[in-house]
Symmetry: D3
Subunit: 238 residues, 6 copies
Amino acid sequence: MRPSGRDVSEMRPVSIETGVTKHAEGSCLIRIGDTHVLCTASLEERVPPFMKNSGLGWVTAEYGMLPRATTTRMRREASAGKQGGRTVEIQRLIGRSLRAGVDRVALGERQITVDCDVIQADGGTRCAAITGGWVALRLAVNKLMKTGEVISDPMTDPVAAVSCGIYAGQAVLDLDYPEDSEAGVDGNFVMTGSGRLIEVQMSAEGATFTREQMDKLLGLADAGVAQLVAAQKAAVGV
Amino acid sequence: MRPSGRDVSEMRPVSIETGVTKHAEGSCLIRIGDTHVLCTASLEERVPPFMKNSGLGWVTAEYGMLPRATTTRMRREASAGKQGGRTVEIQRLIGRSLRAGVDRVALGERQITVDCDVIQADGGTRCAAITGGWVALRLAVNKLMKTGEVISDPMTDPVAAVSCGIYAGQAVLDLDYPEDSEAGVDGNFVMTGSGRLIEVQMSAEGATFTREQMDKLLGLADAGVAQLVAAQKAAVGV
Amino acid sequence: MRPSGRDVSEMRPVSIETGVTKHAEGSCLIRIGDTHVLCTASLEERVPPFMKNSGLGWVTAEYGMLPRATTTRMRREASAGKQGGRTVEIQRLIGRSLRAGVDRVALGERQITVDCDVIQADGGTRCAAITGGWVALRLAVNKLMKTGEVISDPMTDPVAAVSCGIYAGQAVLDLDYPEDSEAGVDGNFVMTGSGRLIEVQMSAEGATFTREQMDKLLGLADAGVAQLVAAQKAAVGV
Amino acid sequence: MRPSGRDVSEMRPVSIETGVTKHAEGSCLIRIGDTHVLCTASLEERVPPFMKNSGLGWVTAEYGMLPRATTTRMRREASAGKQGGRTVEIQRLIGRSLRAGVDRVALGERQITVDCDVIQADGGTRCAAITGGWVALRLAVNKLMKTGEVISDPMTDPVAAVSCGIYAGQAVLDLDYPEDSEAGVDGNFVMTGSGRLIEVQMSAEGATFTREQMDKLLGLADAGVAQLVAAQKAAVGV
Amino acid sequence: MRPSGRDVSEMRPVSIETGVTKHAEGSCLIRIGDTHVLCTASLEERVPPFMKNSGLGWVTAEYGMLPRATTTRMRREASAGKQGGRTVEIQRLIGRSLRAGVDRVALGERQITVDCDVIQADGGTRCAAITGGWVALRLAVNKLMKTGEVISDPMTDPVAAVSCGIYAGQAVLDLDYPEDSEAGVDGNFVMTGSGRLIEVQMSAEGATFTREQMDKLLGLADAGVAQLVAAQKAAVGV
Amino acid sequence: MRPSGRDVSEMRPVSIETGVTKHAEGSCLIRIGDTHVLCTASLEERVPPFMKNSGLGWVTAEYGMLPRATTTRMRREASAGKQGGRTVEIQRLIGRSLRAGVDRVALGERQITVDCDVIQADGGTRCAAITGGWVALRLAVNKLMKTGEVISDPMTDPVAAVSCGIYAGQAVLDLDYPEDSEAGVDGNFVMTGSGRLIEVQMSAEGATFTREQMDKLLGLADAGVAQLVAAQKAAVGV
């Protein structure tokens, strides 16, 4: 019934390749089916002005799409002169999500910027970015711990995200693009490795949904995130 | 226990004054406690280019804050040269929410732009904007029906929104600014008059939450939205 | 003969409501007929860089229009990405006018920003902004004097403004929008409570005028400003 | 008493050299003392969208300053990414002023853009731009009449402008930069060859002025404009 | 003597992987040592406005760098709000270079946009972009020929580019980043498969060079481009 | 054979008038035929942030064109909101070229900004800008040496530039606009007074060229630059 032939609770194949760029303190290429996102974590020994002398660290994120990551070419945001609303919304979500898994006191007064650039898009890019972004962040923090710059591990729990939605009347896990563009209701669920919620964003474009449907999607998300966290742990060697 | 002395499930006083500007096809000033938002609905006999000749109508929204709506003056976005990420995120949410309550076929190929400008802010401005925005939209559509330009009512169900959050360890309804700035978890719930969900946005800044907490917030939201819908109906005289 | 039925030397009804927002140090909502402008004065304990350590204070102004303050909706400047030429011109005029009534030595090295946001427009918005802006400024300075931060009153004389023009061949006071859009010659006159001139801007779009006409307009303006200053004084309780 | 040793009613030397660029339909280099402005008039067989099929012509102006036209180098507006408020204000004034001397019906549905670029600044650049701009415009219209594209002369009367101000307590004509930067009150007066007024802009920075002072400045302006109009006529060979 | 231990006329290892993204009409990932550039060619059935109805095709290019392609993170151009001068210069060069190898009549009135995004940078990104860009373009044109949309092959000759420079007093081929940042003189040479020149850009930062040095660099470039063209041919299977 | 009737190796008449603006530390108006560029050198006692405390000086350049310097009016970049790609490319070239003739240690930690504004364009504006820019720079440095702020002359060798190209099958020197717009291959050659190369930019739009052609153009450039350097020396009185 799903265009891909997947079962309603079946995720696309997940792969996370680490160490993909030589300059970044942490990096990975995450592939969720045909959605490919390159994530890098860059360490900077400075924090935003409003955080100076707070003793707290900061984790922030930026998101971008290569112009031809999509079916038809999209205008390059750098040439358009600004980041679109969707981009801004997504990168704020990624930053918020990753910060929920970080003890900012333990991190100390430094900033890590996680860049998530979509090389190829097929639905669920923001969820892939969060999941891969956590891996890049984990690897960068590992480096800080190895050198002794950070003593106590600031990474409290893995953070991963998955999308679910109502497609053709059924709750399905991990929407790909053909499903996403048809689904009347879809949600993004950011969770920790221990199953706690960080962010729930459910939204209906020109439709509505019930508590029962919401609960069903949450159930699917639980299972999906567990799978992603396993992949994250394998990738970073825990 | 709440700074305002309110009960955990007690909303702030709500008032909706209609017809507050002489030019707009629909308008209201909504006050949720000390949060005051001016909402206008402007009718335009054109739709965005990608919708031409589709026969479908469009409802979109813009959001702004007067520079001194807040405790300290914020830079005017027009002078900064762009709308900030928070603004863009909010106005996309308002537009999506309002469209969920509109039958775009019945509306016909025309656009209604709902402007929500925050005159005074004390928490919950996006929820007030959605709730007041629906009233302005309803009034503008009434005008279209009176003139016969629209025959069958395109407004399917009232749309209203309320925020809830975990403040000082307790689930509370309708966060004001002192609560909002302290709450580790907060959510915005957009619902219809018949209790269906349109948008759920729960997010934890530097924290996490459980399904049980989420359910408690949803319960509070249900009650809050019912109260708001009653106020909307009274305002538009249904 | 005037669309409103007013006499040539008759102003529209004037009302100034103070204390309309809880955050600003000074605020008022000024209504000149159907032109409604919200004015707030925000105190900041800093001055522009070029004024540092000068011992002098600074008063500046910003001006904006809500998108549907006008008959047809205008594009939001924040979304257009810049303030238009008209906006910039007006806010420079407001700032210059208000500074003419302030002793910057007595004010001391601090800045007051006066925001004038047009809620509803029906001609004469810049004049209403100056007149209401002075009230907001006066109230903010009162606060500084009450706390003893400022000892000697820096407000030297009230500042108010009115427009006049040649409509249908006759010099008329306080143009409303239907008159303004027809008048070949119109002027804005900023004056002090004691009748001295601060700014005279007379301009003819596609026309010219004589010294005699100019003198007639100045005469009307004198009377109009006297009325506005009386309203200002009543509003601030002098 | 004046820094330049000039008499209070003495203008700086005026020279207008025409035909200074080979591409423009009309051009001149106007020198008012050490203020040098290059003015070109460019003919375009199109009008702004809102004027299409109106049968009316349009005259518009743009103003710029070379970065080192001033005592210290100013940032190039093209590199700053926008025209400053002062630039916008001035170019709107130039356009309005020139249009007052043009019969737009006789011009026919075409646009002439007058560019005024300040090569060297020493006070009074906007007045020099208007005066020189009229010469460039006149020459471009001459071309249209020679080719028969325009039959009846649309240039109704020469347009010229001069500044006056209160310097060291005295009303003086044609302020140069040392005077302009000291004057508490200054005005720009745009007039026609027959002595009618087009635009009067008097403004006091941190000061006020009286009707008597205003009248004195107007008297000086009358004499100054007469001199400028004579120079214009000589330049265009009338 | 070279930091990498390479011989003066030795290129870094070259690899070109084609078909790396599923959406683009043509694509490759080119690796010149540690410089990795993703190139996609996007077909659009429209040309720039000034080329409409000319019957001629158009090839254009855009260039970008992921923020952490470099040793230290660079600001994302989309968030900075504009493309920097270096970016603009490079993408103009890529477009010009590729057009030199295309018969625009044979291509017909359509546009191909080549996007070159640097995933990892280690010197010579613009040359890698041109070389990889040609491969992506070739593959996209192959598709047009397979479908019969284009009959006669518009690709006249392969186009490739290499950099050379004077490093530590010696002419060396294919500068990597450590060399590039030290070289007083460096050049980029764009050539065709048959050895003709398309673009020569030699430049000295704070230095000068002689005709003899220039000739030496040209000789190295000849050999380097020949190697690159062989790799291109192998990649596209000719 | 050339539209101007010039011999293939004949430059247009060159004139360099110095001291053309009273504010700049150095200035000239260079005329190469109908190409007229105003060049000013502005001294600033500060350097870019990344150069602070380096003890080194900095020379940078900006380039602009008056809107009607060209056959048809071009949009003003300040009003377009950004400098175009061509402008950015040219001003980077001018800066690089001039720095090649400056000993930055001898200059000391100060910045000189060379502004090159095209008053009238007829081909070869960037070359004229470099040649005239050097004169302005030389004059500004002379001032610094006269006052003793700079002791040892930082100007190592004159810098001048000329364009050559293949027009109608023949290598010609100093392309004017009619030639430039037709030439398939053209180059800009920046050289020192002693004949060393600083920058070579040869490029073919939709064409290619050979080493022999390149050598021929270099030969012409040699002769052209020698002539320009003679004019520079005459202008600065060496």
